[in-house]
């Protein structure tokens, strides 16, 4: 039994919803609090691991992650490489942005492609999205991490994205096959992260775990972080299939009667062209996107075809080593 630990008492406060909440002392705004936590995590990894790497997907979350890494080591440069797993089915605009932006901030970029699978004809059209993703993303990612070999890999995943993510630790332990075991996660208390691993094992680190999609957009807005233009609405050629808008950049096979058409739209999350559905939108600035999101009642990954392959499919992919 603890001795009298907390002597502080609070009577029921009379809620006063018209004035700002009481500050008994200086407090950070929620974005600054999240930023401080993420920077702490990034520094902790660099201090305790030998060969960290940051997974760079070129999306908005990656952009925020890169900015946090810049802040963590300022005035020094980011002390680890950025790794992009290129399926070759990414949008041309993404690749262009990737090369320009990483050069601009002086980051080291490593690009990895499962060339063997591509040479053997792997594509979402030939294999179906699940197998394609397994070869060009999950397999390629595991091979890329082994090629380092990297013992810690930052990812931009957030817990609010998907139900299985909500239970994942900030330091997510992976065995020597890169697999996640949701039943056997290390307890994670306070801000004390356990970095100990054996040879061949690794940790996936998610500094944005506690951020929501809205936080990410607000941070991009307030920090003026550059993002890929695909996030902004403009007329783009797509195939309309039910509720989905499928970009035509890599010539997806069309169903009878389907024809590409120009639709005012934007991407809500970025993946490969075939698996990333666009959404109809007029939002061509960050504040407009935030406005749109705020009234939007659909969750972000819904437009990713891959997550709907079967019930609980994200959890299955993660067990196999997917980010």
């Amino acid at each position: 039994m603890p001795e009298k630990q907390i002597v502080q008492t609070e009577t029921t406060p009379k809620p006063d919803l018209d004035s700002p909440p009481p500050f008994s002392r200086e407090a950070l705004t929620h974005l600054r609090a999240l930023e401080a936590e993420s920077i702490h995590i990034i520094r902790e990894v660099v201090a305790e691991f030998e060969r960290p790497v940051m997974l760079y997907s070129i999306g908005k979350d990656s952009s925020v992650l890169v900015r946090l890494a810049q802040k963590a080591f300022y005035p020094g440069k980011i002390p680890f490489p950025l790794l992009h797993v290129d399926t070759t089915y990414k949008f041309g605009e993404m690749i262009e942005f990737r090369d320009r932006y990483t050069a601009e901030i002086g980051a080291k970029l490593v690009v990895y492609t499962n060339q063997k699978a591509i040479d053997e004809g792997a594509s979402p059209f030939a294999l179906g999205t699940q197998k394609c993703c397994g070869l060009l993303k999950t397999r390629a990612l595991l091979d890329a991490l082994a090629s380092g070999p990297y013992d810690a890999a930052f990812g931009g995943a957030r817990r609010d994205e998907e139900k299985s993510r909500a239970k994942e630790r900030i330091y997510s332990f992976r065995d020597s096959y890169g697999q996640w075991d949701p039943k056997n996660q290390r307890p994670e208390l306070w801000n004390l992260y356990n970095s100990r691993i054996d040879k061949g094992e690794s940790i996936r680190v998610f500094p944005l775990s506690n951020w929501t999609e809205l936080d990410v957009w607000q941070y991009i807005h307030f920090e003026k972080i550059p993002i890929v233009p695909l996030y902004f609405a403009k007329p783009r050629p797509v195939v309309v299939r039910g509720d989905h808008l499928i970009p035509v950049e890599h010539n997806p096979p069309l169903l009878p009667g389907e024809k590409p058409q120009m639709v005012m739209c934007r991407m809500r999350s970025l993946g490969c062209t075939y698996c990333t559905g666009a959404i109809r939108s007029e939002a061509d600035t960050v504040p407009k996107i935030i406005h749109e999101l705020f009234f939007m009642r659909r969750s972000e990954r819904e437009n990713r075809v891959i997550d709907h392959d079967q019930e609980g499919s994200m959890e299955i992919k993660k067990r196999e080593g997917y980010f």
């Binding site: 006063d16 700002p20 809205l214």
Partner: protein
């Protein structure tokens, strides 16, 4: 997410920019309706997207008796969905125009104390669910106890399923009375109570018409207005150094997250363990240099003087030192199926340090159902106890109840690399042996009081260094004394023996090289360690030399 009250997007963004963050945890027994309550908070604050709602609406499982089973919103993994209970910690997010909230959703299942402790470790408020029909159960007491043990500053008790007791005021009042009394007994904060029905939403987000006798706020109104950070009255500087940033020869910055207090350029800071002091030159961030930084900001600090500081060191306010010791007592929650082993070498991670440490003794185990203190020789999974620990290197710590950052640590088993326990350090008391002894004082009793064994340091012709070392050791909490012999009276060996028997660390600094005195001192103080330092081997600068000697003493296990 609720609709913006602001008229324009710019006003909305401005409002968003001022939002605060509240982390809270939820605890309840199986079937207390915890998942439903969280589902209700998410649903009523529009934190749920349509497709998620559609997905649970078509779920074959519905235990709620209502059109949609909101508890399904928070059920994460497949296995858990099949079992119908949550078995790990899951984090949820929602926001109102006033605050953003992070929920650590933890199970109330008997064997999962460790998950609750995990969720509680970062929470500023705990919601504890009580079933109005069942009243205060042993589990409810356990949840309150763990919340208090983990130092959560605010307790909110949601008395749920009020619809099943016809919203009876007496039922509610008697639960409040019993719960309040219990929390008072364990030294917790005054709890705040809410009569709710999570299934229908009474007093969750809006005040209910079915409880006209209840005049307090809704649960959400309380979450929006409870003071944040009020428990954190500890404002003495603690800055654990995480990483040294050195992009060029003219910049050397110490990066870290401020654990307590504030920093300004010009502040005098002391670096531990070296004990050297300097002034803050600048507080560097990507967004420009700061005139003030405070907890929990992540910043980079440069100092006026070149002193050797590395990861694991801590900058503190020299007027308010933390405890510096290799020995401490802590409440421990054990989290692994392999029980705690006495005298086994574990790794302790405390702030930014990893040190080897042994549990020397289990003072008692706490029965979490009765809260009785029981004798124990080990702690099993999910057990809690008070233990005494000895580390290989000193920790710089404060009691957990004063500062959660510098009072907390985790145990890692070095063989399996897994986090096996969590510790909360208690305020060290003047070390008195358990039973009041009547005989003469023994060396063991002196050790228990001092925290170190006696030792003699022989340091010829470095008087200033000797006094500097004395100061450093004193600041570490050691009993220390300098013997300087300018007159060549050859008294040093005998005086050293007296000091050694008294349990002190003695620094002998004869003015000249006197091998016969040295040998005699070594003989008279045996078997206590005798450290002869060759002045030729030590750096000429006293400050640098002192830091080096401290390292030698650490390596030799003396401090």
């Amino acid at each position: 997410m609720s609709a913006p009250a602001a008229a324009t997007i710019e006003q909305f963004l401005e409002q968003e920019h001022r939002k605060q963050l509240l982390r809270f945890t939820t605890a309840g027994s199986v079937d207390d309706g915890k998942s439903t309550l969280i589902g209700r908070l998410l649903y009523d604050t529009k934190g749920v997207y349509e497709d998620q709602l559609a997905s649970i609406a078509k779920s074959p499982v519905n235990r709620s008796g209502r059109a949609v089973d909101l508890s399904l919103l928070t059920d994460g993994l497949r296995a858990e969905r099949e079992q119908g209970i949550t078995i790990d910690v899951a984090y949820r997010y929602f926001a109102t125009p006033r605050r953003k909230f992070i929920i650590a959703d933890t199970p109330g299942h008997e064997q999962y104390t460790r998950n609750m402790a995990t969720g509680a470790s970062t929470a500023e408020l705990a919601i504890i669910l009580v079933d109005a029909r069942k009243g205060v159960l042993p589990q409810s007491r356990r949840h309150a106890y763990i919340s208090v043990l983990l130092g959560i500053p605010h307790l909110a008790v949601a008395v749920n399923k009020m619809d099943l007791v016809d919203f009876n005021r007496n039922t509610f009042d008697s639960i409040c009375r019993e719960f309040r009394e219990f929390v008072e007994n364990i030294g917790g904060p005054e709890p705040v109570f809410f009569p709710i029905c999570a299934l229908d939403g009474d007093n969750v987000v809006t005040r209910s018409e079915r409880t006209p006798w209840y005049e307090g706020p809704s649960l959400l109104e309380h979450l929006e207005t409870v003071p944040i950070g009020s428990s954190n009255s500890f404002d003495e500087l603690r800055f654990p150094v995480q990483y040294v940033i050195r992009p060029s020869l003219d910049f050397r910055g110490y990066a870290g997250q401020i654990a307590a207090g504030a920093l300004h350029p010009g502040d005098v800071v002391m670096a531990l363990p070296s004990g050297r002091t300097s002034r803050v030159k600048s507080i560097v961030t990507w967004d420009g240099d700061l005139q003030k930084a405070f907890a929990p900001m992540s910043v980079t600090v440069t100092l006026e003087d070149e002193i050797d500081i590395s990861r694991g060191d801590m900058l503190v306010d020299p007027r308010h030192m933390p405890h510096v010791s290799r020995r401490l007592e802590a409440h421990v929650v054990w989290m692994h199926p392999d029980a705690l082993e006495l005298n086994k070498s574990y790794i302790l991670k405390h702030t930014t340090q990893q040190v080897r440490g042994l549990v020397r003794e289990i003072k008692h185990r706490v029965n979490v159902n009765t809260l009785a203190q029981e004798p124990a020789s080990t702690l099993e999974l999910n057990e809690i106890g008070l233990v005494s620990i000895e580390t290989h290197r000193p920790l710089f710590y404060d009691a957990y109840k004063r500062n959660r950052s510098t009072g907390a640590f985790i145990f890692i088993d070095p063989l399996i690399n897994v986090t096996v326990g969590a510790g909360m350090i208690v305020e060290p008391m003047a070390q008195v042996p358990a039973e009041l002894e009547t005989g003469r004082l023994t060396a063991a009793e002196r050790y228990a009081r001092n925290g170190h064994h006696p030792a003699t340091i022989w340091l010829t012709a470095r008087k200033e260094l000797a006094y500097l070392l004395e100061r450093r050791l004193f600041q570490r909490g050691c009993q220390v004394h300098v013997l300087a012999d300018d007159a060549e009276t050859h008294l040093l060996p005998v005086l050293a023996r007296i000091c050694s028997v008294a349990g002190l660390i003695t620094i002998c600094t004869p003015a000249a090289h006197t091998p016969s005195d040295r040998d005699r001192a070594r003989q008279l103080t045996a078997p206590a360690p005798f450290v002869e330092l060759d002045p030729e081997d030590l750096p000429p600068d006293d400050q640098i030399a002192a830091a080096r000697v401290m390292e030698i003493l650490e390596e030799r296990g003396i401090i």
